[in-house]
Amino acid sequence: MIRALLAASLLLAAVAWSLDTARADEAKTASAPEDLPDDPARPLVQGKCTLCHTADYITQQRLTEPAWQRTVDKMRKFGTPATDEEAKAMVAYLARNFPADLPPPRSPRAPLPPGSVSRK
């Protein structure tokens, strides 16, 4: 009986481990659509546009160039530190990588973050 239980718990531990690795693999691929694509202007956008929110706020959008222009203008008013030159490069990057006609990305599934349910 004890041996059976031991075997069962070993099996369960292995299961838990392998599922965790599978999930980690999946997380790596699934998080790809949330990453900013490689491009000469990527470091600029990564540096300026992830100060207040994660890049997923950006990568889920599909917008025309004028709409990206309005968004970057708005973010500069919100406090994005960027020169006019840098803003221009960022608008071009965003319009190039997230145009209106690109199919929308699949957002990942995730457990609720801590602090969302009260235990009391």
Binding site: V15, D20, Q61, P104, S107
Partner: protein, 382 residues
């Protein structure tokens, strides 16, 4: 390749999963994915409920969406105070104990982000790309805002109640999140300062310790971590009140800009329904399929929910469950005899005020109040 491996794991592990019924192993519980949401943004926390959430009248907190502009504030409940100031005879500063000592009221109401469904608009609109799940129905318990306003005594020219919570933007250059509701809605007996959601104190991400509940109105007004109430004669000049969170007075052409003077603050949410028991693209077996979903409207009950299985040519009434509440979800059910083939299923709600969901949504620059009839396709196999 990863998929194959996951499939392999799934099938070979059914025995282990059976064992795990009595030993809850975190990795397995997570693998079931029951309580997972759709993560729209990681920071700030914007998480959307999955479709299968919408088969019950009350939405469990574990599956309830999260919408944030900024990071969640750290609130020291012992030191927390609520200020009531502005056009009042007697400004107040209340502690949590003060609020708990006042008469408590309960209201069941849907909390829905005004931007729920933004991701469904064409042309596309910037903002969190919510599809169906930025909504939920809960039982809220707390103090009536009217009782607090009465204690403070609004002056003659009071007309608006401005609210702000403890959260602040990452940079001072970003506008603070400030909203306002008309005094007439603030003194409605169902408008609450809630301390509890579904029978438990508000969790940090749900607005600890206190949130405004404005039944029937868009979620933007339901201020969390509430710390400041200002009674005013006029509307606030704050970004998140003007120009943000506004809706066209009359619809414009999709994609066209609308002049600022043709935009007004949003109030009520509109009539809406959603099938929770099916996914778009799902494969089903022929035979009886039990369809379940929810319907609601801003300040009205639900008169009927109709389903169509033939691309909207004919409609059948679904059975409505439970009492008609003015602000909550109403569950609908229908036993559908699914025949082999590809079917488009649509559901359409009509509220007790006679308003019906439209065929096409009213396009607007903010991507707000999407309530068009929802359609999904299922493939029925013989």
């Amino acid at each position: 390749m990863i998929l194959d491996r996951r499939e392999f794991l799934k099938t070979s592990l059914s025995g282990a999963a059976a064992l795990a019924c009595w030993v809850e192993i975190p990795a397995l519980a997570r693998a079931k994915g029951k309580d997972e949401l759709i993560r729209r943004t990681e920071r700030p926390l914007n998480y959307e409920s999955v479709r299968s959430t919408f088969t019950t009248r009350i939405t469990p907190v574990e599956r309830f969406y999260l919408r944030n502009h900024f990071d969640i504030p750290q609130v020291d409940v012992a030191k927390w105070r609520l200020q009531i100031r502005g056009l009042v005879e007697k400004p107040l500063s209340l502690s949590l104990a003060d609020l708990r000592r006042m008469p408590q009221a309960t209201v069941e109401a849907v909390l829905q982000c005004a931007g729920n469904g933004r991701g469904l608009f064409t042309p596309r609109v910037p903002g969190v790309q919510w599809r169906y799940g930025a909504m939920g129905n809960a039982e809220w318990k707390g103090v009536r805002l009217k009782d607090i306003l009465q204690r403070a005594g609004p002056k003659q020219d009071a007309a608006f109640v401005q609210v702000q919570g403890a959260e602040r933007p990452v940079m001072d250059t970003t506008p603070q999140f400030i909203r306002a509701i008309p005094l007439r809605k603030a003194v409605h007996p169902d408008t609450l300062l809630a301390l509890e959601m579904n029978g438990k104190p508000l969790a940090p991400n749900r607005g600890l310790p206190l949130r405004l509940v404005v039944p029937g109105w868009v979620g933007d007004d339901w201020m969390r971590h509430l710390v400041d109430i200002e009674v005013r004669a006029d509307e606030p000049k704050a970004f998140y009140y003007d120009p943000a969170y506004r809706f066209p007075v009359s619809p414009g052409a999709p994609g066209a800009a609308i002049p600022a003077d043709q935009m007004k603050p949003m109030t009520k949410v509109n009539v809406k329904s959603l099938i929770g028991s099916l996914e778009d693209g799902q494969r089903l077996r022929a035979g009886t399929q039990r369809i379940v979903g929810v319907a609601f409207s801003g300040e009205a009950g639900i008169d009927r929910v109709e389903l169509s299985f033939d691309s909207g040519k004919t409609w059948t009434k679904a059975a409505l469950e439970g009492p008609n509440t003015p602000y909550g979800f109403r569950v609908f059910r229908h036993a559908w005899k699914a025949e082999p083939g590809s079917h488009e299923i649509a559901c359409r709600a009509t509220d007790t005020a006679g308003l019906t969901q439209p065929e096409v949504p009213v396009w607007n620059p903010g991507g707000y109040l999407h309530n068009a009839i929802e359609r999904l396709r299922v493939e029925v196999q013989s």
